[in-house]
């Protein structure tokens, strides 16, 4: 459990960070909270010559609520997300989900940006961001661009982010007043990834449903959202269960996961409906 040797970089601005990535190509990786990358390095499954730590870049730590959206810097920790009262007021689903990630020690270091950028199907934030229709700001040598969370995930650990790009900010449109929400997660224990998890928003004639760790990417189902917006709960569940492709692992066989996915989804929908109004 000892990583191979690497050079450690700690730039203080984004431009320098991108410069380091450009210089070293695929030998370099950005590190945020490190909770996914460092274990992979210790297992020598990730072998990197250059590690670019973003924690000294102050611009990435802000949370702003303005212009009908929330802007969350990539280096905001799960703990900061949970304790931000403004966010809890306008996007309470973020706190509800983040509280179900690992344990307080992990949440003090684990970042929102790292969680969404890594492309790990086990992470909670990617599915959540698809549900709330977030957009990710990517900064690279060619400038800045935005990619919708719903278009970001291509396969496990493969995303729309270019090798020389850094995910700097997450922008989430604020749901209209009275939107019901719920995040449901089943896990074996504290610190585990989800056996199944789901994020649901319902209100004002619209609905959005996403699920986590039930395929090699998060699954947002437009059909499920449409059905749910029309009040068809079973239709929404059927659409979602048709979209997920769970794999057997130590958490259980695929049939079990599919069953649990349906149970959690119904529970989340019921809770979100109760909160809508």
């Amino acid at each position: 459990m000892i990583p191979a040797g690497f050079e450690y970089h700690r730039p203080t601005d984004i431009a320098s960070a991108i410069g380091i990535l450009q210089q070293h190509g695929d030998e370099a990786r950005v590190i945020a909270g490190g909770h996914s990358l460092i274990p992979m390095m210790k297992l020598r499954m990730a072998d990197l010559a250059h590690l670019v730590d973003l924690q000294a870049i102050d611009d990435l730590r802000d949370i702003e609520i303005a212009g009908g959206e929330a802007r969350i810097g990539a280096m905001v920790t799960q703990h900061e997300l949970i304790t931000h009262e403004g966010l809890a007021g306008v996007l309470p689903i973020l706190r509800e989900a983040a509280l179900q990630i690992a344990d307080p020690q992990v949440r003090y270091l684990g970042t929102v940006g790292g969680n969404v950028a890594n492309g790990d199907p086990g992470n909670d934030m990617p599915g959540l961001m698809q549900c709330v229709d977030a957009r990710f700001e990517l900064v690279g040598p060619e400038g800045t661009r935005e990619v919708a969370a719903r278009a970001f995930y291509e396969a496990a650990y493969f995303t729309a982010r270019g090798d020389e790009e850094i995910l700097t900010q997450i922008r989430i449109p604020l749901p209209v007043q009275g939107t019901g929400y719920a995040y449901e997660k089943q896990k074996r224990k504290i610190g585990d990834y989800a056996t199944a998890a789901t994020a649901v928003l319902i209100g004002n004639g619209t609905a959005s449903v996403a699920m986590t760790n039930l395929a090699d990417t998060p699954i947002w189902s437009e059909d499920a959202g449409t059905a749910l917006a029309g009040g068809d709960v079973e239709g929404a569940v059927a659409a979602m269960l048709g979209a997920i492709e769970p794999m057997a692992d130590n958490r259980g066989p695929a049939a079990f996961k599919k069953h649990v996915a349906g149970v959690l989804l119904r529970r989340a929908i019921e809770r979100a409906q109760q909160r809508a109004g």
């Binding site: 040797g5 224990k189 079990f256 069953h259 649990v260």
Partner: protein, 806 residues
């Protein structure tokens, strides 16, 4: 005098002796990060060793090329079996009479097996060099199922044993067979089974798990080439036995070997055995002349050092139609992995599995155990239990439940009518044990009353109705267990490890000013020996526990003993402590009589002093007596006040307990909630109630983990699927249930202070308790047996197969 106004009760309380919830003296350093563990040891010029391990579960090794690794700056040596062979150390004896490769000798038998040992200037260089050792493997067919391993055409795992039809424990009937161990009366048992009113039959599997102590295994070996003395600091649960074994294996004279167990961060049986890392570190230190450290990481620990359980127990239990048990039959297939490295007393290749008649008066019984080789890591240690007692307790406590189903009886009542009665002790069991003492009915009734058993059953029945009516998706299960432990190994007449009798020892020295040091042959791994053994001495000789230093683990200073495992410290070393203290008290009595100018028989011990009989104001305190021992010339007495005792226990001790838990299960997700867990333990005389409570909490939490999720899983290729704490369940504070503890006290009649040991009881008792709650919840739908661990998907599968998902 100030002393005169203190009542005997006050004086007694100030000693903090037996019965006092004295705070643990160890915790001052542990809670401040001031413990001194193996990995804290740093020495000038110390090197670090790390293993190249096999990625395959069964393969031939055709080539090892270490040149690239050796070329890394800072790499000192790379050892392979070829380097160890001239020393005769490429294989080593196991504690079970088998032998084990130290480094792969031509082939590997399990994933993670040690192939080469890289020695470097620091652990980072060693880890890099490990990656550069090239090993060519030729894969062989893998067997991870012990039943398939015994098929006629199964691959030969142990080619070194080819043609050997006799093993350490009798005949071998197949190339992957290790031993058959039979106990009891087969014919009589089968006769009872054939004529019984009712016979319940079930396969009960106790899955493979791992003790997973927080501190992994490791050592620092230091050969001083000037003095010729080898010192090894290590995570050893039995330091003296290690010294003798190292001497026998290496040929180094035993007086030139010093084994030191520093602070140990949990053992639970994982640190009893001798591992390749120890041998390689010693060899590397001898070769280089420098200290060599080896410390496992978590994955090494889970994948390669001793596992626990993996017992397939086929059972038959016979009873009258009224529910009186008339016979018990068990055939166990024991998966030992690639080498038989169980840590059991020599004559017990399946440990004390023959305690499987449990708490019940069963007139006739038969047990057979077949040990089998598979492509899994070796081990089979007693994970917080006394040599397979947990397997035995799980087996009988499941079989009783299965019988209750067959009889249509309440399982609590079935237990009650079959308990060994208090007036039957000492009780001869059908499988050869003499239970020293017990009062099971009293404990059982107290437990059932404490949880309000009848009300729980009524609530459960109501919930079942609600479930059937579609009002809830949660079922209630009530888990019952009455377990009997067998601990304190053990009498030298039938218990030894590698020929070393399983006595234990204590040496006490009283200093001139009345404080003391005591040294024991055991070694604490968190049990709190420095706290509790001082309490025994405090009560026996009247010196405050706070004035007594306790030392263990250094073979140059501690008296010889067989170490700490199997709940043996209190039954054996605790007895030695009391006996040594009594020798001191006897001499103190003579000194007091001399000082008081009366006959020896005219003084009596009174808490912390000897007083003249009938004249309590005339006394000498232990402090005064201690000083006199060092400054007075007393006719007929040697100066000084010291004693040593080597205690060979006349029998094992038999702690017992009644555990009841209430759980709820979500039939749709397989999730559970432990609503209540009540643990009544009878460990005889209670030395420190606070430490007992802590032991029960810790052991029950391990039991919870084992029953509800903890396992070592192999896939068909022999890959370990649970090599990290992501997949190997170790409960955090969040998952850990709340416990209610209770007790009865039935002292051991043969132990000097009546104590029986408690450290392992809660693991032994809680596993069947949790498991029985699962089975109980689904009993109304026809469930009789479902194997552990009862994690979410397996609970879900139970519900699914019973048609509860509509």
């Amino acid at each position: 005098m100030k002393d005169d106004v203190a009542t005997p009760e006050d004086r007694s309380a100030s000693l903090k002796g037996m019965g006092s919830s004295r705070k643990r003296v160890e915790d001052v350093r542990f809670t401040q990060g001031k413990g001194n563990y193996v990995d804290d040891i740093r020495m000038d010029g110390m090197l670090f060793g790390d293993f190249v391990r096999s990625p395959y579960a069964h393969a031939r090794i055709t080539r090892i090329d270490a040149e690239a690794a050796k070329a890394v700056p800072g790499v000192i040596a790379v050892l392979t079996a070829a380097d160890l062979e001239p020393l005769g150390l490429h294989w080593m004896p196991t504690l079970a009479g088998d032998k084990q490769m130290v480094l792969a000798d031509g082939k590997v038998l399990y994933q993670g097996q040690e192939v080469a040992f890289v020695v470097a200037e620091d652990r980072y260089i060693a880890a890099d060099a490990v990656e550069l050792v090239e090993v060519e493997y030729e894969e062989l067919p893998v067997v991870v199922d012990p039943f398939k391993a015994l098929e006629p055409d199964a691959p030969v795992l142990r080619e070194d044993l080819e043609g050997q039809t006799e093993g350490a424990h009798g005949p071998r009937r197949h190339h992957n067979h290790i031993f058959t161990w039979e106990q009891g009366d087969k014919d009589a048992t089968e006769a009872v089974l054939s004529e019984a009113d009712v016979v319940a039959e079930e396969m009960v599997y106790y899955h493979r798990t791992h003790p997973c102590p927080l501190e992994t295994c490791g050592c620092v070996a230091s050969m001083d080439k000037v003095t010729g003395k080898l010192t090894v600091w290590g995570t050893f649960q039995a330091p003296h036995a290690v010294r003798t074994v190292v001497s026998l294996i290496s040929g180094i004279a035993e007086h030139n070997i010093r084994i030191i167990s520093p602070d140990i961060g949990g053992g639970f049986g994982n640190k009893v055995g001798v591992y390749p890392g120890y041998v390689c570190s010693v060899v590397a230190s001898i070769v280089t002349g420098k200290p060599v450290k080896w410390v496992e990481d978590r994955m090494d620990n889970l994948m390669t050092t001793a596992f626990a359980r993996d017992y397939w127990m086929q059972g038959k239990i016979a009873a009258t139609k009224e529910g009186r048990i008339t016979g018990l039959w068990c055939h166990t297939t024991a998966d030992h992995g690639g080498f038989d490295a169980c840590a059991d007393p020599t004559k017990f290749p399946a440990g004390f599995m023959n305690i499987c008649t449990g708490s019940y008066d069963i007139p006739v019984a038969y047990l057979a155990v077949d040990g089998v080789y598979t492509n899994k890591a070796p081990g089979g240690v007693a994970y917080r239990c006394s040599f397979r007692v947990t397997e035995a307790a799980y087996f009988i406590e499941r079989m009783v439940e299965v019988l209750a189903i067959k009889l249509g009886m309440d399982a609590a009542e079935l237990r009650r009518i079959n308990f060994i009665r208090a007036d039957q002790f000492p009780y001869q069991s059908a499988l050869g044990w003499e239970y020293d003492s017990g009062d099971y009915h009293t404990a059982w009734d107290k437990a059932l009353t404490a949880v309000n058993y009848d009300a729980l059953r009524a609530e459960q029945a109501q919930r079942l109705e609600d479930f059937k009516a579609g009002k809830t998706r949660r079922l209630i299960g009530i888990g019952l267990t009455h377990f009997t432990e067998i601990v304190g190994a053990g009498p030298v007449k039938n218990c030894d490890i590698l020929g070393l009798g399983m006595f234990d020892s204590c040496e006490i020295r009283i200093h001139p000013t009345g404080s003391a040091i005591a040294r024991l042959g055991t070694i604490s791994q968190g049990q709190g020996h420095a706290t509790t053994f001082a309490q025994i001495i405090a009560s026996e000789i009247g010196i405050p526990a706070d004035d007594i230093t306790l030392e263990e683990g250094d073979t140059d200073t501690a008296p010889y003993g067989l170490g700490t495992y199997g709940s043996r410290s209190t039954p054996v070393a605790g007895a030695a402590t009391a006996m040594a203290a009594r020798k001191i008290r006897a001499k103190a009595q003579m000194i007091a009589a001399y000082l008081l100018e009366v006959h020896d028989d005219d003084v009596e011990f009174d808490v912390d002093r000897f007083a003249v009989k009938g004249a309590p104001e005339r006394f000498k305190s232990m402090k005064e007596i201690a000083f006199a021992a060092y400054n007075q010339a007393i006719p007929g007495l040697e100066p000084g006040l010291e004693a040593v005792s080597y205690y060979d226990p006349p029998n094992m001790t038999y702690p017992f307990g009644a555990y009841i838990c209430v759980m709820e299960f979500d039939v749709d997700t397989g999730e559970h909630e432990v609503r209540q867990f009540y643990a009544l333990d009878d460990c005889g005389t209670r030395i420190n109630p606070m430490i007992i409570e802590g032991q029960v909490h810790g052991g029950a939490t391990e039991g919870y983990a084992i029953a509800m999720g903890q396992e070592i899983v192999y896939d068909e290729m022999g890959n370990v699927m649970t090599g990290t704490l992501m997949d190997f369940f170790l409960p955090t504070a969040w998952e850990t249930p709340h416990y209610t503890t209770d007790h009865t006290v039935t002292p051991s009649p043969h132990h000097p202070i009546g104590a029986k040991g408690v450290g392992e009881s809660p693991n032994v008792g809680s596993v069947p308790c949790f498991s029985n709650a699962v089975h109980d919840a689904f009993r109304p739908f026809g469930l009789t047996q479902s194997h552990m661990p009862h994690d979410h998907w397996r609970i879900w599968r139970i519900a699914n197969e019973l048609g509860l998902h509509g």
